[in-house]
């Protein structure tokens, strides 16, 4: 850019060579290469070695505990562990997981009982999941799910309003936001900043980052390691029990098994009661049309992903609690149900639409109670199409 006069030299004092810094961390190219090589090896090796070192022995009726539902690395490991041509993997949200019931009150448990085999049906549901997140979960962490028999549950609850469909314009916080599509299709109610969105993409794609997340979830109370040292007990005055603890001693190399006796779930819990017991009146839903529903779009793509991987997918639709709906909502629901089954038939996806359960067996709009699951399992297992699907090679 042109020539300059001699007076334009830098200020004498400042012109003296600028010091590099106030430390000796000045690496040359070779040293940088060594650093990158070491870090790459650590990042590639540790997560895969960890799976061999860390004990993870889920018993029968195991489901990913609620507290670990955001440990996607563990979910991937669980799927890898249970993949077996003789097993049926049950995918879905809290309906499959069993929001109001104990592990021995879930759909997979009763299907196993019907089949007379304790581990034929695997509960791979995740609490708080929904199709938009499930798509990301299986795309990134469900790579091992190939050539498997899969039951995919379709819960129309996610289309009952723009809010649950995540298509509302108002900002709305929701679970598993790091799994949903970050940029396309656009989720109007998701307003994370660009940094958050990009870091979610990095977490999905870099196994080491998911593994760090696993450590935090399993050993550090879902906190970062440094935050864990400052964790307080919530008492008055608050005490911090971890101040002088060595974080490394927390890593016990054992994944805790699921909670067998959860006070919030199961027949003895106060939540385990029919939806009508609390005097709730009938509900009118603001259904989102299938063609514009983000969740239905995600469900369609999810079915495609599973089938592309050679899985034999059976979709179970509902049974949604029609007792809870106003007549107008029931009509809209049936239209949705018919639309979904039409799409499934058109795409030759085997599917079942179980008969509506008695009103007293629902805890809310979509979750059955223990007896509801039991009845549902009986109905599904006795369905001729289901038996054919189960037996086909």
């Amino acid at each position: 850019m042109g020539t300059e006069s001699p007076t334009s030299k830098p200020d004498a004092a400042l012109n003296a060579e600028t010091p590099f810094g106030s430390n000796e961390m000045r690496l040359d190219a070779r040293q940088w290469l060594i650093v990158l090589a070491i870090v790459t090896v650590v990042m590639l090796l540790i997560p895969s070695l960890w799976g061999r070192i860390e004990r993870f022995n889920p018993g029968p009726d195991y489901r990913i505990p609620y507290s670990l539902s955001k440990d996607y690395w563990l979910y991937g490991r669980r799927l890898y562990q249970v993949c077996d041509p003789n097993r049926v993997i049950m995918l879905g949200d809290s309906v499959v997981w069993g929001e109001y019931v104990l592990p021995d009150g879930t759909l997979s448990h009763f299907l196993n009982r019907e089949a007379g085999e304790p581990n034929r049906f695997i509960n791979a549901g995740v609490n708080g999941m929904f199709p938009l997140a499930m798509e990301g979960l299986l795309e990134r962490y469900g790579q091992s799910l190939r050539q498997q028999r899969v039951i995919l549950h379709c819960n129309v609850l996610w289309m009952t309003s723009p809010k649950t469909d995540l298509s509302a314009d108002e900002e709305e916080p929701f679970n598993h936001s790091r799994l949903v599509p970050q940029f396309s299709p656009r989720i109007p109610c998701y307003r994370a900043d660009a940094n958050e969105q990009l870091s979610a993409l990095v977490e999905q794609r870099v196994g080491f980052v998911s593994w760090v997340n696993h450590l935090q979830n399993v050993y550090f109370g879902q906190k970062g390691i440094l935050n864990w040292t400052m964790e307080n007990d919530g008492g008055s005055p608050p005490r911090c029990p971890n101040l002088w603890r060595n974080p490394l001693t927390q890593i016990k190399l054992v994944v805790p098994s699921g909670v067998r006796d959860d006070a919030k779930r199961g027949p003895k819990s106060p939540r385990h009661k029919p939806w009508s017991a609390s005097g709730a009146s009938k509900t009118r839903f603001d259904w989102v049309a299938l063609e514009s529903s983000l969740q239905w779009g995600a469900f369609q793509r999810l079915t495609g992903i599973l089938r592309e991987r050679g899985n034999d997918v059976l979709v179970v639709l509902g049974p949604f609690n029609e007792h809870l709906m106003t007549e107008e909502s029931q009509r809209a629901y049936r239209k949705h149900r018919d639309g979904i089954t039409a799409w499934l038939s058109q795409n030759q996806v085997p599917h079942l639409v179980p008969e509506l359960l008695p009103s007293a067996l629902y805890a809310d709009a979509s979750h059955p109670l223990t007896e509801g699951y039991e009845l549902l399992a009986k109905r599904i297992y006795s369905d001729e199409n289901f038996r054919k699907w189960l037996q086909r090679k």
């Binding site: 200020d11 430390n23 000796e24 660009a194 390691i225």
Partner: protein
């Protein structure tokens, strides 16, 4: 856009290759400028107008200043006013244009919408100042015009609310039934009254350029693009270091040589900065925030340790930012000045300021302290002390419009004034053990940080009181936090000792770099903005 975010990484991955690809063309300064504006506009595109305003105004003011004679000459002001008889056609054009602008702004202020009135008045005053500068054709007047215009946005956005609140309190105390309007009501087009990030830094940099050209220390930059890059070079735009025209502008005159060492040095600086911010500063913030948000709930040890932790948090936060800024600039081939040099190993308060925020310390030394010292040289013994106190009062006010910052600045000014002679004495330099001096200076600096960090003046005073009166109970600070600070301190002590060579070994360098990268992957706690962005 923050250095420690993914969007910045993408930004850099786009900017750097294009920058080097354009190296052999005349387009690289334009690309650099576009990148800088994008970087700043990412936060709030509206406030880009402020950067543009400062850049354009300073460029033209200095151009006009440069046309004025070095020696003061007698001018016939009346002839210029009445008959437009100017020796210099450019100055005449500047006068006419400014005078017309004054008229234009006055008309809009009187006849236009009410919401625009305050802005039109402000612009009218600026145009009037420009007309005055042209009328007198004096370098001194142009210096004043440039300084006032450059400082005006900073004063408005940073201090107007503080001044209005305090004046209203005084009026209320005097039972005067008048109240000054909130500065937010003066914003045009319904814009929010927010402190633009980095305004202090680009204002100070521009101001130093005007003064340096006036004093003949720097030559006027004739290339507008190059000058615009100097004002808003993106690595330094948000939080410095505050560069001088004499150091940075010459580096922009030709495309920097692309050398591998620039990349490795830049990456080294960036890694250290990122580690300081994401691991150390953010970790210390957990403890500092907990104690300082509710100081009455904590005993004396916790308050002392939180203050020490804040001292290090601020160093890691701001020092980390500077390291990253220097690293990014180095990747492009540019050198930025060193801004921190182990400040907590200082052996005197003066020494502390030669190690802490060095670019700012040099700025206030050159542009406030020295002129004051010259001005008051007849006061002899009192001259330096008074100049120091005033300089650091200004420094305190620069940091923020709050009484806590004023007291922080005053304490440093007084500390410097009182120890100025002591630090120069042979006894202090030779007889007092270095460690004792370091501990005393660190204790003093930490004491002043209480005022810097406290949420309000009553909070700060309460913390000071509680440090001496509250019970000595478990401070509840994590051992890992103490160990981290102790290790950094140890590293710095080694660096300044005869054992420095240990740190230069390949094993130590590579080992520490691996630990830092893994530390970032395992322990970094979120992003978080930088403390100095608020200044």
């Amino acid at each position: 856009m923050l250095f420690n975010t993914w969007p910045f990484l993408i930004f850099l991955l786009v900017v750097l290759p294009v920058f080097f690809a354009l190296g052999k063309t005349r387009l690289w300064p334009l690309w650099m400028l576009a990148a800088s504006y994008f970087f700043y506009g990412w936060w709030n595109p509206y406030y880009l107008t402020l950067v543009l305003y400062t850049t354009t105004l300073v460029y033209f003011v200095v151009s006009l200043m440069d046309r004025c004679p070095e020696e003061r000459q007698k001018t016939d002001v009346l002839a210029r006013l009445t008959r437009l008889r100017f020796d210099d056609g450019v100055m005449k054009a500047a006068f006419v244009a400014s005078a017309l602008a004054v008229l234009g702004f006055a008309v809009v202020a009187l006849a236009g919408p009410g919401t625009l009135r305050p802005m039109m008045v402000a612009l009218g005053v600026i145009a009037l100042l420009m007309a005055t500068g042209a009328l007198f054709s004096s370098r001194g007047v142009w210096l004043a015009v440039g300084a006032i215009n450059t400082l005006a946005p900073l004063l408005f956005f940073k201090y107007a609310r503080f001044v209005v609140e305090n004046l209203n309190a005084v009026l209320s105390w005097l039972h005067v039934p008048a109240k000054l309007a909130e500065p937010a009501t003066l914003m045009p087009f319904g814009f929010d009254y927010l402190l633009p990030i980095g305004i202090s830094f680009f204002t100070f940099q521009s101001l130093s350029y005007i003064i340096d050209v006036y004093l003949g220390k720097a030559e006027r930059e004739r290339n507008f693009l190059r000058f615009a890059n100097f004002v808003c070079f993106f690595p330094i735009l948000m939080s410095g270091p505050i560069e001088r025209a004499g150091h940075l502008l010459p580096q922009f005159r030709q495309f920097p040589a692309a050398r591998l060492q620039n990349f490795t040095d830049g990456a080294s600086l960036f890694l250290v900065g990122l580690f300081k911010k994401l691991v150390l500063a953010n970790y210390l913030a957990l403890y500092v925030d907990r104690v300082y948000e509710n100081p009455q709930a904590f005993g004396a040890p916790a308050l002392v340790l939180a203050t020490v932790a804040f001292a290090w948090q601020l160093y890691f936060d701001f020092g980390g930012y500077t390291d990253m800024a220097r690293g990014v600039a180095k990747l492009m081939g540019f050198d930025l000045v060193l801004n921190f040099n182990h400040p907590y190993l200082a052996t005197g308060i003066g020494d502390f300021w030669r190690r802490w925020h060095i670019s700012f310390s040099r700025w206030i030394l050159d542009y406030i302290f020295m002129p004051l010292q010259m001005q008051w040289r007849e006061w002899r013994a009192l001259c330096t002390a008074t100049a120091l106190v005033v300089t650091f009062l200004v420094s305190g006010i620069w940091h923020g419009a709050a009484w806590t910052f004023v007291i922080w600045g005053a304490l440093h000014g007084l500390g410097l004034a009182l120890t100025y002679e002591l630090e120069r004495s042979a006894f202090y330099r030779k007889r007092v053990p270095k460690a004792v001096k370091q501990v005393c200076v660190f204790a003093f600096v930490c004491f002043t940080w209480i005022f810097f960090r406290a949420n309000s003046l009553p909070d700060a005073l309460m913390i000071v009181r509680r440090i001496f009166t509250a019970a000595w109970q478990d401070p509840q600070i994590p051992a890992l936090m103490l160990a981290s600070v102790a290790l950094v301190w140890l590293y710095q002590c080694l660096f300044e000792s005869k054992f420095r060579s240990v740190l230069q070994t390949r094993f130590v360098r590579v080992g520490l770099a691996v630990l830092m990268v893994l530390g970032l992957l395992l322990c970094s706690s979120g992003g978080g903005t930088f403390i100095y962005f608020q200044f």
